[in-house]
Amino acid sequence: MAVLLIAEVTNGELAMDATAKALTAAKALGDVTVLAAGAHAASAGEAAAKLDGVAKVLVAEDASLGHRLAEATAALIAGLADDYEHIVAPATTDAKNVMPRVAALLDVMVISDVSGVVDGSTFERPIYAGNAVQTVKSSDAKKVVTIRTSTFDAAGEGGAASVDTVPVGDNPGLSEWVEDKVAESDRPELTSAGVVVSGGRGVGSEEDFHLIEKLADKLGAAVGASRAAVDSGYAPNDWQVGQTGKVVAPDLYIAVGISGAIQHLAGMKDSKVIVAINKDEEAPIFQVADYGLVADLFTAVPELTEKLD
């Protein structure tokens, strides 16, 4: 059975971690062809060809596919669908934008945020902010699936797949890219980092968020935030961890000044080791923490930063 895996392509480059993790899930479904689509996608296609277990790579390049605009990208994927039983992508914001559109064009349901593959038509996915896990069996002829990357290991390299180009249809002209506001950072990417340090409303201000960032830098960690911290302007939106933000499962997650609402837990409770620093001993975050420290973050975080070497 053939699987079309949509590579995560950001500004012409392959997002290796997300693609390689979705590949692990895709390999369980059949022979994997990777599609690299974008205004520039050739080098992403070359990179994907080296992933272990990729049978073939298709490259689609056209200005209309730049910035992953949904209408043109979905039309391209739906146009290729005849040859595949599964169409799979990592559950990034780009894929969440495009894949339901693909599914509707094919008159099938999308299966979002899959955390487990049982067989070719049966999948596990978290619902209710991860408070329940549902197993669903699809009766559709084609399965359009997005993969929750935090639950799959990345596939390795060592492959040497052939690379073909595919034609791109006419631009429907429904939408245009205007601008991106992307914060440059030398820190590891949130969803692939081995360590994440997150701050919440308890941090109190944008200036004091530097305490969190200093601890993160000491650990070589990515920085995350609760919704309350983002809403209050202490941290940018792309740092939000949770039901409606990013889902992370690092080796170590340190939650500072975060109460532990279910919507936040939904994004981090599969981390290997969880540390919580909160001055309220009743805070629900302590129920998922392996190590809890009841303390004022303004003294505990600088001390911790200093004592870690």
Partner: protein
């Protein structure tokens, strides 16, 4: 321009959900139900467009059980002008899948001809994040998901979207479907006089069959389980102890 806002009745976001012992689903009998939080944001945005003179009429639509009437009354109390309830299930535990919801919404849109659909980015029960995108595909319209800013300028809209890398702004052709994210606005509370007034606003009742849409699920729910529980942790007494424990565990 008419604005159509699909609103879903979901378990209140403050309720701790319980998985039924027989694995058949989540217990929804006698729990507090509310409008999906993202849909409140969508209703708020629609009302603001009307207040700014950019929209003439705001229509709220809900698909599901009869009780979704309450959700629609909430939308009306916030300021929507009228509502349409499409009854598609009898049991409160039956969730209508995004594809079927999108098909029903398309039929409503064919009749109502709105210039804009504002929906939520995701329903907090099934966490699908799909309906707006599916509807847009069925209509052949443009789409702008995860919106944190929306400006309508004549025949197009400028939308800022919350994406993995930060913020992206796109320009979409009208009519369009916008799915809203948390930071687009802060929804208002309905005042008591407005709640009273909402009782007199028109609420049409239809069925899925009226629109000829088959709502049979494509995904059979095999089982619903609790996620694996985490092992209990410990409270440490000091930063030193924390550092020692983390080193012991090989975490730093």
């Amino acid at each position: 321009m008419k604005v159509l806002v699909p609103v879903k009745r979901v378990i209140d976001y403050n309720v701790k959900v319980r998985v039924k012992a027989d694995g058949s689903g989540v217990d929804l009998a006698n729990v507090k139900m509310s409008m999906n939080p993202f849909d409140e944001i969508a209703v708020e945005e629609a009302i603001r467009l009307k207040e700014a003179g950019k929209a003439e009429e705001v229509i709220a639509v809900s698909i599901g059980v009869k009780q979704a009437q309450e959700t629609l009354r909430t939308a009306l109390a916030m300021g929507a002008d009228r509502a349409i309830l499409v009854v598609a299930a009898d049991d409160v535990h039956t969730d209508i899948e995004p594809l079927a919801v999108a098909k029903i919404l398309k039929a409503v849109i064919d009749e109502e001809q709105p210039g804009l659909v504002l929906c939520g980015k995701q329903a907090i029960d099934n966490d699908m994040n799909a309906t707006g995108q599916m509807l847009s595909a069925l209509l052949g319209w443009s789409q702008a998901t995860f919106a944190s800013k929306l400006d309508i300028e004549g025949d197009h809209a400028l939308v800022t979207r919350e994406v993995d890398g930060g913020l992206q702004t796109i320009k979409v052709k009208m009519p369009t479907i916008v799915s809203v994210d948390l930071r687009l606005n802060e929804p208002r509370y309905a005042s008591l006089p407005n709640i009273m007034k909402a009782k007199k606003k028109p609420l049409d009742e239809k069925t899925a069959a009226d629109y000829g849409v088959d709502v049979t699920p494509r995904l059979e729910i095999v089982k619903t389980e609790e996620p694996p529980a985490r092992a209990a942790g410990i409270i440490v007494g000091s930063v030193d102890e924390l550092v020692a424990k983390l080193k012991e565990a090989g975490a730093v």
